[in-house]
Assembly symmetry: C2
Homo-oligomer: 424 residues x 2
């Protein structure tokens, strides 16, 4: 709320702040937490914010009044927190009811806000977390509630599937982990000269952003995965076998990278044979075994040596390979979210806009959370080759700057020295 001269005309909203983390861990969500805390500490120094509360285990901690006081965290702890994987405050997977259907639920949350004099609410998470911010903002509008609040979503997901933002905090670090791991596996499988197929399964239910990162070793000018399959294209077992045979005729060691979420023409997941059938509270299917299924198919149809592997949890928590670019941006967007709240915004998600120009840089912007929540951004056609089995150079140009730079992580006893609230 600035006037024509750029002066802030809004009356200061003075009170406490609460910040929470939600959804799956990443290597950068704590950097965003550190950014929010340092932004709020600055606001506290200026007298706008008093106490900075951290919700334990996301919105469930708010409901149960389980808070950590973050007001006095020193800068060295914030730096260490920024390089620590997972979610230092704990996380949850809690879907809020519709405000129109269960207003009592939101009244009880407001009771907690009022009890603790909380005026600022920051929620760091993925798509489902933006849904939480959206519903809180909606309730504020439709309920006639007069207690003023500012609700800000701060993105976090390795999946990079949030709308509008150029990319998501956490994606670059996961991509760096995947690119490095795939590069190392390429070295590993090249040592034997007998025909062998290695299939690497990478996270990504509906979008292939993470699997795209497997193609990054091309930038090194050496070997790269022979075949890369994303969920954006229908998967054909026949074409896959053709592709593998063609690659084996050129090179004995063939590496295939696949998204866990690739599907057949009838919409069924390739990994469906090995899937548990369970769904999470958001109705997402739990998948396992896409690479294993393809392993069995190669064994049966081609009969050569074949192995499958999943990068599994480490692609989201392998913070020793965090991207310095990602960590800096993730902390930056957290700090920016605070300034957006202080300047009067609510119901928005802080985001990245990539600046034009040869040299990569981003600016911070906000988008109405309504335009973000529950949508999925998929990999554009221009990033996938015509056959649907590889990544284009345009795709690599998009992703390359996001994985650059190594953090100055401190090691102790030969292992990364990470931050935890229990030990501090």
């Amino acid at each position: 709320m600035k006037n024509i001269n750029g002066e802030n005309t809004m009356e200061k909203l003075i009170g406490n702040a609460v910040v929470g983390q939600s959804g799956g861990p990443t290597s950068a969500i704590n950097a965003t937490l550190a950014g929010v805390i340092s932004g709020l500490q600055k606001a506290a120094a200026l007298g706008t914010v008093n106490t900075i509360y951290g919700m334990k285990n996301g919105i469930t901690g708010l409901m149960n009044e389980r808070f950590i006081d973050l007001s006095a965290m020193p800068e060295d702890a914030l730096c260490s927190l920024s390089l620590t994987p997972a979610a230092a405050l704990g996380s949850c997977r809690k879907k809020l009811p519709e405000p129109s259907e269960d207003p009592a639920f939101f009244e009880s949350l407001y009771a907690v806000f009022k009890k603790y004099d909380i005026r600022y609410f920051f929620y760091i998470g993925g798509n489902d977390s933006m849904d939480t911010v959206k519903k809180l903002s909606e309730y504020a509008k439709i309920s006639g509630e007069t207690y003023e609040m500012r609700f800000i979503g701060v993105p976090k997901t390795i999946d990079n599937d949030l709308l509008l933002t150029d990319h998501t905090p956490g994606y670059g670090s996961a991509a760096k982990y995947i690119a490095t791991s795939v590069k190392e596996v390429l070295f590993d499988i090249a040592v034997y000269d007998v025909p062998a197929v290695t299939i690497v399964e990478i996270m990504g239910r509906d979008a292939g952003w993470l699997t795209m990162a497997a193609a990054l070793p091309r930038l090194s000018g050496g070997r790269e995965p022979n075949l890369v399959y994303l969920p954006e294209r229908t998967f054909s077992v026949e074409e896959f076998i053709e592709d593998v045979r063609a690659e084996l005729s050129k090179n004995p060691a063939v590496l295939v990278a696949v998204s866990e979420g690739i599907r057949l023409a009838d919409g069924e997941y390739v990994g469906a044979m090995a899937q548990s059938g369970a769904t999470d509270v958001f109705g997402h299917k739990y998948l396992a075994g896409t690479a294993r299924t393809l392993e069995r198919i190669v064994k049966e149809k081609i009969g050569c040596k074949v192995r499958s592997m999943e990068l599994n949890l480490l692609q989201r928590c392998g913070a020793h390979l965090a991207s310095a670019t990602d960590i800096a941006e993730s902390r930056g967007v957290g700090k920016f979210a605070v300034s957006a709240a202080l300047s009067g915004e609510s119901g928005v998600m802080a985001a990245f806009r990539r600046n034009d120009g040869e040299v990569y840089s981003v600016g911070y912007v906000t988008y109405p959370v309504n335009n973000v929540a529950n949508g999925v951004k998929t990999v554009p056609d221009a990033f996938i080759n015509e056959r649907g089995n590889g990544i284009t150079d345009a795709g690599l140009r998009y992703i390359a700057p996001l994985i650059t730079g190594e953090t100055d992580l401190h090691f102790e006893n030969g292992m990364p020295d990470y931050f935890s609230f229990e030990n501090n």
Copy 2:
């Protein structure tokens, strides 16, 4: 062969040298190759060795006369090689026949040695590779062959299961990868407060050395795996379920580390249900699915959330987490192997002896390869707790120094910049 004054009384054996790599990749086998090359380059400067040949794909490259000339490799290339995973010369899994049963095979190898004026043979590998050195040495003894050769084995295996040596080159780097990864997974699983069991499967068919490394996060004073099972102890499904229940009663997030090779009282592998039934050329059973099998058991018997994961190939090729101690020792033992050969030794394996004292250090020694080949060193009782579900502090004291130090790996485009002969 030194006289009482320590002078070398042996006549110099002048000729060419060949070096090869065999068995599974590690993060340190190229450091040993670099050590052998630099040792030989020094010998070349002194006029003992002329050309330094590298066998492509181990002994099969020797048989087919597929060589790379390593004589002129510059020091910066050797440094880069030292930090590169897998086997830069390529590897093989070739079991030699018994010299008494197939002398013609060895005659053909000697024909190659003679053709290329090769007098020095270095073979970097694991147990099966020491078997190769043993048979070559045996043949030299029993055949009456007068062409003088020196055969030296240089150990390499992430499994740490070679006899006599304090530990094996490559083990420390794999252990560092495992310790770091498990520590990161501990952070990841701690974010939710619902009961959940995570089972991490670690390589190790007959010995639990690698799985021991999962206990290293204890040194950080934070969380550590709740349960660790090695193949050295018989695995009981009933006790496992008891153990998991007991841990779940204390903490919602339970992490279990298991060796792929754990077996039931009847000798059957736990992962046998999911195993392919195939064996490799050495008759080893190919295992898959120990953690998956336990996942199913926990789901059935306890019914809580449970997931399994395998560290898979990355534990042997994740050189971005190589131990600086391991890389330095691995290069050192390669160089030492050359000096052993020059001083007249043959039919021996270069090895580490841990020095006494508070501060960790090793000396280089040789052992007759006959005493090493085809034996397996398992984890001693003192390193495993009484219940057989955890690692003792004595075990951690053994392993801790081996993972210390980080290498100064160069990154380019956000990924490690590794060496390959194709690009140099």
